[in-house]
Symmetry: C2
Subunit: 351 residues, 2 copies
Amino acid sequence: MTVGIFLDLASLPWKISALMSKSYNVAIVGATGAVGVEMIKTLEKRSFPVKSLKLLASAKSVGKKLPFRGEQLSVEELKESAFKGVEIALFSAGATRSREFAAAAKKAGAVMIDNSSAFRMAQDVPLVVPEINAADIKTHQGIIANPNCTAIIMLMALYPLYRVSRIRRVIVSTYQATSGAGAKAMEELQTQTKAFLSGKSVQPEVFPHPIAFNLFSHNTAIMENGYNDEENKVVNESRKILHDAEIRIAPTCIRVPILRAHAESIAVEFEKRVTVERARAVLAKSPGVRLVDDRSKNYFPMPIEASGQDDVLVGRIREDLSNPNGLCLFVAGDQLLKGAALNAVQIAEKL
Amino acid sequence: MTVGIFLDLASLPWKISALMSKSYNVAIVGATGAVGVEMIKTLEKRSFPVKSLKLLASAKSVGKKLPFRGEQLSVEELKESAFKGVEIALFSAGATRSREFAAAAKKAGAVMIDNSSAFRMAQDVPLVVPEINAADIKTHQGIIANPNCTAIIMLMALYPLYRVSRIRRVIVSTYQATSGAGAKAMEELQTQTKAFLSGKSVQPEVFPHPIAFNLFSHNTAIMENGYNDEENKVVNESRKILHDAEIRIAPTCIRVPILRAHAESIAVEFEKRVTVERARAVLAKSPGVRLVDDRSKNYFPMPIEASGQDDVLVGRIREDLSNPNGLCLFVAGDQLLKGAALNAVQIAEKL
C-alpha cells in the first residue's frame, strides 16, 4: 500500500508538466552506458516533458529493457532511421558515434545534445554549462555540446567567483573517478579490488594500469605540449565556456580508485583580491553549488557525499599561502550527473 | 640447500661491515608500528652496523617477536631504563612518546633520530633529508628530526631543480596513502573495502570518514590560516630543510584509498626558467630519485610502483601552461620508506 502511494506521488510532477506545456520526442543514444542510464533517470527525476522516449544503443544491447516512469522500455538499435520523429537527441556513446550519426539526427530535425568531445570546439557549436552560459544555446545550428566532466565541475565552483573578479590563472589537480571511463571501468575497479583483497593477481583490461589501490595519470594520449587529452580539454573548453581566451590553466588529471564522483584541488588567482568570506558568501547562494566547508569538524567535499547529488560540493576555501590574490579550494561533483547526464538534460530544459 | 646458501649470502654484508667498522647499539621505539617494522627491515637491508638491536614498544606488545638478520627479537617495554647502553635510538611512536622519552634517551647517551613532529621545528634540532642537507646533522645536540613524509617526497623531486634555479613558489596537491596514519589505518582501508564490496555498511574507526572508495581532506586539525596541520608541516619543514624562509608553498593534503605510497601533483615556479629537458637531465642523475616519464607509453609515477622502493619516482615533467617560469610534475614515493624509515636510517648512516 505504502509503495503504491509513493509511486503515485512520484509520478505526479511529470503528469502535471505534460498537461501544462509542450512535450517532446526524446532519444538517448548510448542508453545502456553509465551516462545513458543516468540520463533516463534524470529525465524522470526532473519531470522533463517527454512525449516519447527512444533508447538507442549498439546492436548487442537491443532488446535490453530499462525503466522509465514505471514502464520498461526496450533498447532499439542505433541506426540512421532510428531518429525519425525525434526532436531532442541526447548523445552519450562516444565521439565516433556522435560524428557518425550527427547528420542523421539533424536530417530528422532533432536537436543533438552531445556529451562526447566530437563537436565541443567547433565554432558553430555552443558548449554550455547552463548556470554559466545558457545564453549561448540560442546560437546553435542543430548541435549543442555538453562539456568535459572535469571542466564542468571545476567551472561550477569557479564561475560564481569569476563574477566577483576576473580569474587570471588556475592550477588544478584532479582526483577522477572511474565512471569517467564508463560502466566497465567502474566494474573493473570493483573486480580488481576484490581480486587484490583475495591475494589474486590483478589484470587491467579497461585501464592501462591497475586501478585497485592505485592511481595514475589520466589514460588519454599525451599531446605535443606534454598535457594529456583530458587536460587540454579542461583548458580549451573552460576558455570557450567562460568566453575568456586569456585565462591561463594548468591541469593535472589523475585517475583514482573512486567510483563516480570527481574531486579537484584548485588554486585560483584573481585580478583583484577576493576574500575567503566573500567567496563563501557568493558560493553559498550559487545555484548548483553546495558549500561544504566546516573547518572545526574537518568536514569538506568528499566523493561519497557528492555521488548521486546534483550539486557540486565546494569547500576548503582558504587564502593561497603563496599568492595574495589567490584562493585555494577543494570540490567534488558527481561525474555522471552534473559532469554529464544532468548538465545535458539541463541544456534540453533551456532549449 | 639453495635456501641455506641464499641466507648465508644475504647475511654476509653485515658480517663484513661489522668486522670493518665500529658497530652500534641501536634501539627502535615503536618497533611494532608500520614505520618501526620498516626500520628493522631497512637496518638489515642496508647492512647498518648494528651491534645490538633493542625493539621497544608499549606494554601490550611486549613479548611479540620480530625478525632481524634471521633471528627473532623480542619486543621489550618502552620505559626510561630501556635506553641503557643505547647509542642510536630511532623513534617512531608518535610525538607524545618522543617528548616523553627524549630525556631518557639523551641521559643514556643515545642520539635520538625522531620520526615524529615533536622536535622538528626546534631551533637546536636539525631536520634532515640526507640528499639535501646532510651537513646540518653535525649541529645536533642529541636529537635529529626526520621530516614529514609528504615534505620529504616533495623535496626529493624539487631539490635537484632548486639547485638549477631557486624556487619561488610551489603549489602541491597530495594523494596520501593510509600508511601515513599507521598500520591500523592500512588495515581499515582493506576491511572497509571488503565490507563495501559485500554490500555491508562501512564504519570508520581510525579515520573520521569512510576511506573505502572515498577520499578526504587530511585528517589533521585545521589551523587559524585555514590549512591543516599536515599542510603547515609541509610549508614550515620545507623552508627549514631548504634554508629558505622565503619560498612560498600552498599545499592541499588529501587522503586517498591507497596503501603505502604518497603521490603529489606539483606546480613549481622558478626564479629563472628551467626547461623540461634540463629538469629531466638533472633528475635522471639525482640520487634517491628515479625518472619515470614516458609520454608515448603514458607511463608515469604510480603508488603501486613506488611501494617498497627506496627511490622517489618523478615524472610528467612539463611546462606549466599558466606560467613561463614554471614546471609541473607528478611524484610518488613510499611513505614508509623514504617518507619515514629509510630517511631515518640514512640519517643514522651519516652520523
